[in-house]
Symmetry: none
Amino acid sequence: MKTAAPAPVAAIVTVGNELLYGETVDTNAAWLARSLAALGAPVARKLTVGDVTAEIHGAVRSALDVADFVLVSGGLGPTADDVTKQAVADLFGRRLHVDRDLLGRLEALFRARGLPTMPALNVSQAEVPEGATILRNPNGTAPGLALEVDTKLVVLLPGVPRELRGIFEGDLGALLRNRLGDRLTPVHHRVIHTTGVAESRLAELLEAELPADRGPVTLAYLPDLRGVDLRLSARGVSADEAAAWFGRYERAIGPVVAPWRFEAESGDVVEALNAALAATGRRVAVAESCTGGLIAKRITDRAGSSEVFVGGVVAYDNAVKVGELGVSDETLREQGAVSEEVARQMARGVAERFGADAGIGITGVAGPGGGTAEKPVGTVWLATVVDGEVESHRLSLVGGREAIRERAAQEAIARLYRRVIHARSRA
Amino acid sequence: MKTAAPAPVAAIVTVGNELLYGETVDTNAAWLARSLAALGAPVARKLTVGDVTAEIHGAVRSALDVADFVLVSGGLGPTADDVTKQAVADLFGRRLHVDRDLLGRLEALFRARGLPTMPALNVSQAEVPEGATILRNPNGTAPGLALEVDTKLVVLLPGVPRELRGIFEGDLGALLRNRLGDRLTPVHHRVIHTTGVAESRLAELLEAELPADRGPVTLAYLPDLRGVDLRLSARGVSADEAAAWFGRYERAIGPVVAPWRFEAESGDVVEALNAALAATGRRVAVAESCTGGLIAKRITDRAGSSEVFVGGVVAYDNAVKVGELGVSDETLREQGAVSEEVARQMARGVAERFGADAGIGITGVAGPGGGTAEKPVGTVWLATVVDGEVESHRLSLVGGREAIRERAAQEAIARLYRRVIHARSRA
């Protein structure tokens, strides 16, 4: 009988004075921890220190005490306060030398940006500790560096989040999988996306339906401004066993969550909306007041949105509502800009003028000013139009300006998505 | 002459499995770090470990190695996975005993909540290590606990953010001020915001100009997609001395950074643009293709933007560029949608139609698809118009879709800001 080797243990060291001042929330540490858990290497310790050689030495030593491998992020930039590479090289008695290949790639990158010569400072980014493996950075100039230290591994990563992520998802992930292979014990997940229902309400409904035998599965509620994700996690079982358990959960809670559920790899309901529009051969246009472009921005965040998105009008000034969308002066005067009829006229107006099959009209009080007793901050009128038929809703949203705008945009996108899905099933 | 004692050094230990899984971003650590810096006790190290006795021991020991006092948060709740208090008591050989006063207060709290008896589990929350000082928790049941360990201090705090903050702002802050008194040395900061210049280029230019005597000041470069902040920090001096030093730095580097500098409390160049528009009595309208509403969204993120923002058109489909903005069919045919002349017509068109004094027109290839040899992904044409005069620029941006859109929007906002500032100075 084969005994499984223990799972490899990771530690994370993040470096940066700004992290110690608390000016920057350490999202890298959380992202790396999540990615390592998904890979199957639990994190035993996270440490944060400033851009100070002695502190970096202490942290890396302390991390190596408890872990098989250590990811160190931050302090690889070209400026004088970036000391991580030199500090780690010194700690393990490795000299830095300029890597010719890397230098060539950096110079090519600067030429591609239209700069004739690379700033001298950036030469330091081509310096590599003896024996280190270079991990390509698809999103920037500082590569990752992996150092073998006895039987352990110390990996240096840049602190810019998208650079760190790009390296992890590319060369570093491959290196770790290759090196740690069957010692990795991944956690299996299935995520159910919902929007339009509060976490506490969802929990109340679900707790009654969960299987009596929960097996290896734990259920987490992950709420944010846009909705609540339900994450099922299974540890210590094979992918097939996990899938069987997730199926049991799906049968139990699927009917309960159906009214608010959407399917999207990215977790973004825009992905579901754009797919539904494309599948039914429809295109959308949007008319926004209180959300100020946020809905158009969210739709066009996604690659390929030009297939389904015609365009939009941000009608902040009432003159734009009248001139560009055909909202009636009289309606504005009698019912005010934040009113059901204005939202409906905006939705219909933008769809007609832009030649779109579907449309959104939205107008509200995002605050902090502008609220009245009758229409307090958070009052939003939302209209959707599909094939000429308009539906409208009054929302009463809580939170600050950003939260109100995010919630209003999400509600608009989710409501249009449900209508388009419904329209498709009738076709 | 009085010699100042060295500033007391703090360390932070956060405890919780959820922090190691990366499911929860560690906002407590950032909040405590910020509060300690403001108090005048710099943080030398932050550590995070799971709810495991041996790990907590290792972390607290490692923290005491570098710090005069250690704040430990998390794991003080009443359930079985809360082991922090017992672990720390064991580490220093202190027994836990039930504190009668505390038990009475807890029981009263539960009565006040309408519960006739306190759950048995909560009795553990009245247990206190020998010799510990109790720090009142105004927002919950688990008090903070301060232990003297030789000449150092170890403080336990609950992990619920508003409870932790309540204790810090009350009893703990008082205890630290009382104990550390004149050893506290607040850090003074001044931040210079720039946009439109690369970190390495800025560093190259600045290093030549920095004062030979850097005094108590350190300079950090904080880059993101929108620009580079320069942060000057001064430690161990009075506010007046710090201001004098910052003034010396300003005189040295001010002229160098001037072309890219902007003033904004929030660090967002939109704040500077909106203020400049308001000060000169101008209003702006925007016409966006590749940024898809992002510029309008960013302008309207800020409260009060309705004073200076008329509205915008998101012209994704070429038909919208023609119909809503007056872009010429012929120009589109001959030069393509991503071209200097289309950007110029968009800017002029939206400003004229919306009755705005200033306008932006932007069209480009955000990717990932749509690039050609002549116009690769990242090619963006940007036009700004102020009082009828149009200026245009070709941008070659790197990164993924999101980075290209963010950079393009930032460049547009920053360029318009500089033109409006300039227009004002001529007036």
